[in-house]
């Protein structure tokens, strides 16, 4: 059994979690070590909200719509299609014809890269996220 200290993925309180992992699966969650903002406490979501990680509904491969249906695809095909469609739209209609909704659920590094993708990779400030919801 391994224990990994991390931060809860639910609300903005930022509770420290200790994930108990056995055979590459999370088996339980307990409050993380001190110093922590939760000081030994966790709510129901923090303690019991981890089954989704290993849920059978998780997406395991990129999907591309072909003939109206989403079908599995390789990373190379999916990322290649996105890059070519984005470039095509930008050259036909301008960079401001593209935009992105970033994620308040993902990390700082990912939000930094997402806005950089739009500002530096595409050339538009059309980037926002769901802070208002």
């Amino acid at each position: 059994m391994q224990h990994t200290t991390t931060t809860c993925p639910y609300c903005g309180v930022g509770c420290s979690l200790s994930l108990a992992v056995d055979n590459d699966r999370i088996v339980s969650v307990s409050p993380g070590p001190e110093p922590s903002v939760n000081k030994g406490a966790l709510c129901s979501k923090g303690r019991f909200g981890f089954d989704f990680v290993h849920h059978k509904d998780r997406l395991t491969t990129p999907l591309i719509r072909k003939d109206g249906v989403l079908v599995p695809a390789s990373w190379d095909e999916a990322l290649g299609l996105i890059a070519s469609k984005f470039s095509e739209i930008a050259s036909l209609y301008g960079a401001d014809a593209l935009g992105g909704f970033s994620s308040a659920r993902c990390s700082n590094e990912e939000n930094y890269l997402f806005q950089k993708l739009f500002r530096a990779g595409i050339g538009t400030n059309n980037v926002d996220h769901c802070a208002r919801l």
Partner: protein, 539 residues
């Protein structure tokens, strides 16, 4: 906090939405602090409150202004020191005359004596900490409501010290970080304006590009631009607007209309189902990085298990896309991304992965010897003098009428999170709260022939949703409450996209609905029923 202190919470169901902070509030109460709850619903903390102000939804600004007026008129303001450290004090105090307790009592449906009791609590407390969430902001008057809290904190000197302050509790694990990182159309990292040449210049030099000098579009503006054929491609990253955004019919129309839609998520959400390309991201347990909490505390997340199938940590997907768009940067690991960001962001420059091993650090943290900043505005407001803003009352964008006689307000329950794509897939959570329970007051239930547990239909100008009735006095007469957790009972098909003019935050806390009982045979609670073609206009 303890004896002599006061906790004033406004529009936050803290024990459900931020339970560990809610626990701290209960502890403060046990230690002798006074608790004031301002909320139309009898949330758990309302039962613990010394003063509970059950306001009519949408009357926060007049109610808070009336409390300020009572404190001022009772001589509980340190006029000299407030005048010296603020601006606009005289005009603000003059403006309070129109918010006298009696007229605000009539407007807000809160008894004038209760307004005075709250004023005495705050006026006499050594320290008052104000907490708020979406119950304050998700109104067409959201900005004014926040300013009303800020006015009250300035008036009572509750700023820049421990146990005080205007404290928004942020609802998503990293909504603070998304804003800090410049995932907004008007600012780069650290809230620096894209219209400022110097700011843009530093990023242009580092990234070797030209950044447009005009701010970009917000989410509602992007949806409108899609409808007007001005936008052709959209990338939705880790978000489910088909359930979380107001007026789902409008959102669905726009997502169908856009030429090319990319969605990156953990599950095939209602939004991903509409995509042209779906990318499988990784959960928090499968990747390294940092989240920033509601108190600006940057903390590590660490990979504990392997990504499922061919899914990848989201930062890797985004880095690869940058590469495919011709960008030169190559990131060996997520720390490289963090280091690039902190060197471009003065508020974060002093935070390093090495330092975070010892625990989180609160920004601003300008250099590596800086301990971080737990409290802002110490000694003085960061902008200089604290600014009072005189306010007016404005009614919500949609009020009950003969056709839609009830008010709907929305929120969360403790077992679930947002559109529940994660929590409904957790055995222990889904079991405790398996379906929507629409809170209906007993008198309203009697009027419409609804018994506890009946299936009911809710109808607004924008659509129809169904759910099971919970007949309860948690809501006052005339108000119904729903969550937005349950895909088959989507509250946001009912809500309005009318928004605050400054922030664009939609008025999710007030819309007008009609309800009726359904017989079990007449429907099952399942799909969206779309009544009429939704207009794409966002007010």
């Amino acid at each position: 906090m303890g004896a002599g202190d006061c906790v004033c919470i406004i529009g936050t169901n803290t024990t459900a939405c931020h339970p560990v902070i809610g626990l701290g509030m209960m502890q403060a109460k046990r230690n002798g602090a006074q608790l004031i709850v301002i909320d139309p619903r009898e949330i758990d903390l309302a039962r613990e409150a010394d003063v509970w102000l059950r306001l009519r939804p949408g009357t926060d600004t007049p109610l808070l202004s009336a409390i300020a007026g009572e404190i001022y008129n009772a001589g509980m303001v340190d006029v000299e020191s407030v005048a010296a450290s603020t601006e606009g004090f005289k005009e603000f105090c003059e403006g309070l005359a129109k918010f006298d307790a009696e007229s605000v009592a009539a407007l807000s449906e809160v008894a004038a004596d209760d307004i005075r009791r709250a004023a005495r609590c705050i006026g006499r407390a050594r320290n008052t900490a104000f907490y708020y969430t979406m119950g304050v902001t998700q109104h067409t008057t959201g900005t004014n409501n926040v300013l009303a809290v800020s006015n009250l904190a300035l008036l009572t000197g509750n700023i820049g010290r421990p146990k005080t302050g205007v404290n928004p509790l942020r609802g998503q694990n990293n909504v603070q970080g998304s804003c800090d990182m410049g995932a907004l159309p008007n600012v780069l990292t650290g809230y620096r304006s894209v219209t400022n040449d110097d700011v843009r210049g530093s990023f242009e030099e580092a990234w070797n590009v030209t950044i447009p000098a005009e701010k970009g579009r917000t989410i509602p503006e992007m949806l409108n631009a899609i409808e007007e054929d001005k936008m052709k491609g959209l990338f939705v990253f880790g978000e489910n607007p088909m359930r979380s955004d107001p007026d789902i019919n409008h959102v669905e129309h726009c997502l169908h209309h856009v030429e090319f839609l990319v969605v990156q998520d953990l599950f095939l959400t209602e939004t991903a189902e509409l995509a042209d390309v779906v990318l499988p991201g990784a959960s928090f347990a499968e990747k390294d990085g940092t989240f920033t909490s509601t108190e600006r505390r940057v903390q590590r997340i660490r990979a504990a298990v392997s990504p499922v199938g061919d899914s990848k940590p989201d930062w890797k997907i985004l880095a690869e896309l940058l590469e495919r768009l011709g960008r030169p940067e190559r990131y060996a690991d997520v720390k490289d991304v963090f280091d690039e960001m902190r060197m471009l962001t003065p508020t974060h420059t002093g935070i390093t992965y090495e330092r975070l091993e010892a625990g989180g650090i609160q920004w601003p943290c300008p250099d590596e010897s800086h301990a971080g900043t737990p409290i802002l505005h110490v000694g003085n407001c960061m902008r200089g003098a604290g600014k009072f803003v005189p306010l007016e009352h404005r009614e919500p964008a949609e009020l009950p009428d003969a056709e839609y006689p009830l008010t709907l307000t929305t929120g969360r329950v403790v077992a679930h999170y947002h559109t529940a794509t994660m929590t409904r897939r957790c055995f222990g959570l889904a079991g405790t709260w398996p379906e929507e329970l629409v809170e209906v007051h007993p008198a309203d239930a009697a009027e419409y022939g609804i018994a506890d547990g009946d299936l009911i239909e809710l109808r607004s100008r924008r659509g129809v949703a169904t759910g099971r009735a919970w007949v309860t006095r948690r809501v006052p007469r005339g108000l119904v409450f729903m969550t937005f957790h349950f895909s088959e009972s989507p509250a946001n098909i009912l809500t309005t996209s009318a928004a605050d003019p400054v922030t664009g935050t939609p008025q999710l806390k007030v819309c007008a609905v009609a309800i009726r009982k359904l017989t079990e045979e007449s429907t099952s609670v399942e799909s969206l029923s779309i009544e009429e073609h939704a207009s794409c206009h966002i007010a």
